[in-house]
Amino acid sequence: MHFSDLGSISLILALGFAILTMVVAVLGATRNIPQLVASARRCVLVVAFFLVLASASLIASFLTHDFGLTYVAQHSSLSMPWYYTTAAFYGGQEGSLLYWAMMLSVFSVIFVFTSRRAPAMLVPYVTATLMGIEAFFLLMLTTISSPFVRLPVPLPDGVGLNPLLMDPGMLIHPPTLLMGYMSFSLPFAFAVAAMITGKLDSDWLRSIRRWTLAAWSIQTAGLVLGAWWAYHVLGWGGYWGWDPVENAALFPWLTSTAFLHSAMVQERRGMLKVWNLGLVIASFALSIFGTFEVRSGLISSVHSFAYSAIGGYFLGFLCIVVVFSTGLFIYRLPRLRPEHEFESVVSREGSFLLNNLLLVGITFATLWGTLFPLISQALSRQTQTVGPPFYNSVDGPLFIALVLAMGIGPLLAWRRTSTRTLWRNIGIPALAAAACAAILPLAGIRDIWPNIAFAVCAFTAGAILYEIWRGVRVRHSHGEPYPLAIYMLIHRYRQRYGGYIVHLGLVMLAVGVIGSHFFQAQASATLRPGQEIDIAGYKLVYFGNIAQQYPNVVVETAQLQVWSDGQLQEYIYPGREFYANYSNQPSSLIPITTFGLTDLYVFLDNWNGPAQATFDVFVNPLVPLVWYGALLMLLGGITCWWPEKRRRRIDRSLSPEDIPVTVGARAELSREDTLVVAGRASVIQGTGTQAVAGLTSQAEESDSEVRDLPIGEEGAIT
């Protein structure tokens, strides 16, 4: 009896229970038997239990070095430290599928425990959809891609992990990214449930948006960790190469970003329902497509994964997902009428439409570029590579336009904006952009593109900061000190100000990307001891090479001094590591020294004996901003997502049809400085009203326009 036997049995049981859950949940919902639904919910716990057990037994096999297991023998060795041995769990295809399935079951459990908040009608269908996806993964795990296949004779030692993966990045990037891909299942399950039941109301929207926000945050973290890892280990001085595998991770991120924005239009105005459902389905389909693309080896990529027949199965699953959801979609189309009409393009809704056009445009262009080698192969018999120059010139301008839209959006009111207000709001950001456009050329930036891009960033940053400043000033004028005012503003209107934090983070990230794209300096040279490289104000003096022998690895490093401003800053040791079983794939030790906002990046390219070495040196301005910006984005995402205290419970059993009077979006209070908008549910003497209430203050807002209304959030409402 091995741990792996326990694992195989658990997987089979989990598959059985997943299918059972699906059947029971659907039966319970269609026959209207609450006991069955409750039993399905409990079954989800059982599935999760068996998947956690299977994962635990795989990890146990790794830690006990059970080299009789093919997967363990291929991905670990005796000399690996315990943490990489544990991380080898998701180091190969079978393990990463198991990790995917396990995380999905864990998220399903979280859904089951929080499902009181979700509309009751949807719960069985969401559960069934989740378990359907789970069943697909379990089917593959138990048949063609099992991590628990045993060798006839156990090996004395394993092959070990690919040295590129023996990096702290391995501990966090793959699990986060896989979890990100997985988490798009939840919004998808909600979309399917809504299409089956026809219940696409504000409760549904709230649930699906929270799950999408979670998925978005995880995917953001996964993408950035990937970029950070690539920057630290690959040695070409960059962090994003528009590689097909990287693009695949970007697709669902882009479409879910689009959804998070257009969902606000649906929430506030009841429009774009069809479009939103499409985006949710597309996000999930694209995340499955990504897995298919990565695993099938269809498109050549820098990332070498083990390719296998599994790609075909994913393609099949993708087809089922697309056909099934398109069918449901068409079936539900008649129910998806917009509640309000569009009034003006110059409005918040209008800016969200622009945002969606751009995001979907970027998704499409990137998808097209990724697939073009295949298309050209099929139609013109020649495989044309589509590399970074293509994406930079197609997606680059679109991203800049997106950043601009991000600045204009918050300046516009819902429904329509008068020209006067627009001009008043646009003044300060426009001044910031103008200042940027005037100062940067004088400071030595001569190219036209970075100037435009930086000016756009300045505009957007100006718009967002001005917006936050106005809110803070109002609170301050009512007697709150500034730090408290900032805190209260964000705390009260999390979604709105969390969104602004995300936007600020993205602007920061954009500045970092623009800086490193246009102003990277690069030099390569072969040096002998005492010789030096001069680059962009830095001087590197070479001393010689050091070779170190360890039991399982040989490390070659070069010693260099870093000088800047005539001062010795520090010694650096760029190098290469050769692992015993992977001597033709050395991993790199890349010292990255940060001076202010500029990275000095030194890669040891080649060496000859103890006294000659070739270096690639990069000076990457503003790259640290990419990481700070990403952190800010995550912080903003979490702020938006963070549940609010539930203070009041209002009878939810009233469906919108029962509510006789709806006070529209424009109830204006007598107080000149207070405006109120719709969306909040309260019950007064048996009469329901729907209204979201918000407070903007200042008398200057008194032109009777509905703008700037912080949204009362879900916690406060229910």
């Binding site: 040695g235 070409w236 960059g238 190469g241 590689d243 050549s300 990529s301 820098v302 917009p338 309000h340 009409e341 009034e343 003006s344 056009l357 445009g361 499409f364 097209w368 570029g369 073009f372 298309i375 013109s380 044309q384 590579t385 589509v386 590399g387 970074p388 120059p389 293509f390 197609v394 001044l431 103008a434 456009a437 050329p441 004088l442 001569r446 609170r475 009512h478 709150e480 209260m488 009260r492 300096a521 690069q522 390569s524 390219d605 203070r647 009077v661 709806t662 006070v663 529209g664 979006a665 424009r666 109830a667 209070l669 007598s670 107080r671 007064i684 209204a691 209430a693 407070l695 009362g712």
Partner: protein, 180 residues
């Protein structure tokens, strides 16, 4: 008065911007270093023995040799475009890291632009549709509001203010101030 002042501000900003930009455009741009030129050319060529890496980024031997050739040719006075054409003539289009803008490969560039334009056009028509059909809708919405009588409106208002005050101490404070 206020309008005059903002007009002046706009004029001043435009003047400053115009001055800097004409200065920038009229003076000659700084020369790129040879390393930068090699990098620029190399990043537009694909490393043929690698998986999706450019000549500039790849550590492979072939890429190193190609970088040396690029450097040599640039030193001998060829332009960046000339060097790229030299490689294109030797290896064909497959050496290019982005599809060339002609023949079948032009599709790679045109399709995204066409789709974007189509999207914008679609959006335009949809919005125009909404816009024209919303004339009636807006009036409808207003009449919804007038259907609620004054006393009831007052009740809603009070309820709303109460809830707002529960929500936000600042609001409570300002209502008290007003009452007082």
């Amino acid at each position: 008065m206020k309008q005059k002042r903002s007009l002046l501000v706009i004029l001043a900003v435009v003047a400053i911007l115009g001055a800097t930009w004409s200065h920038v455009l009229l003076t000659t741009p700084p020369q790129k270093t040879l390393d930068q030129e090699v990098q620029d050319v190399g990043s537009q060529l694909k490393c043929l023995v690698c998986q999706g890496e450019s000549v500039a980024d790849s550590p492979a031997l072939l890429a190193q040799q190609m970088r040396a050739v690029i450097r040599q040719q640039l030193q001998s006075g060829k332009s960046e475009q000339d060097v790229i054409q030299y490689f294109q003539a030797r290896y064909g289009d497959k050496i290019l890291f982005a599809p060339p803008q002609r023949g079948f490969d032009l599709l790679a560039w045109l399709v995204p632009v066409a789709m974007l334009l189509a999207g914008a056009l679609l959006l335009f028509f949809v919005v125009r549709d909404w816009h024209t059909s919303s004339r009636g809708g807006a009036e409808q919405e207003d009449s919804d509001l007038t259907g609620v009588d004054e006393a009831e409106m007052e009740r809603y208002r009070r309820q709303l203010e109460q809830e707002l005050a529960d929500d936000d101490p600042l609001f409570a404070q300002s209502t008290i101030e007003e009452a007082g």
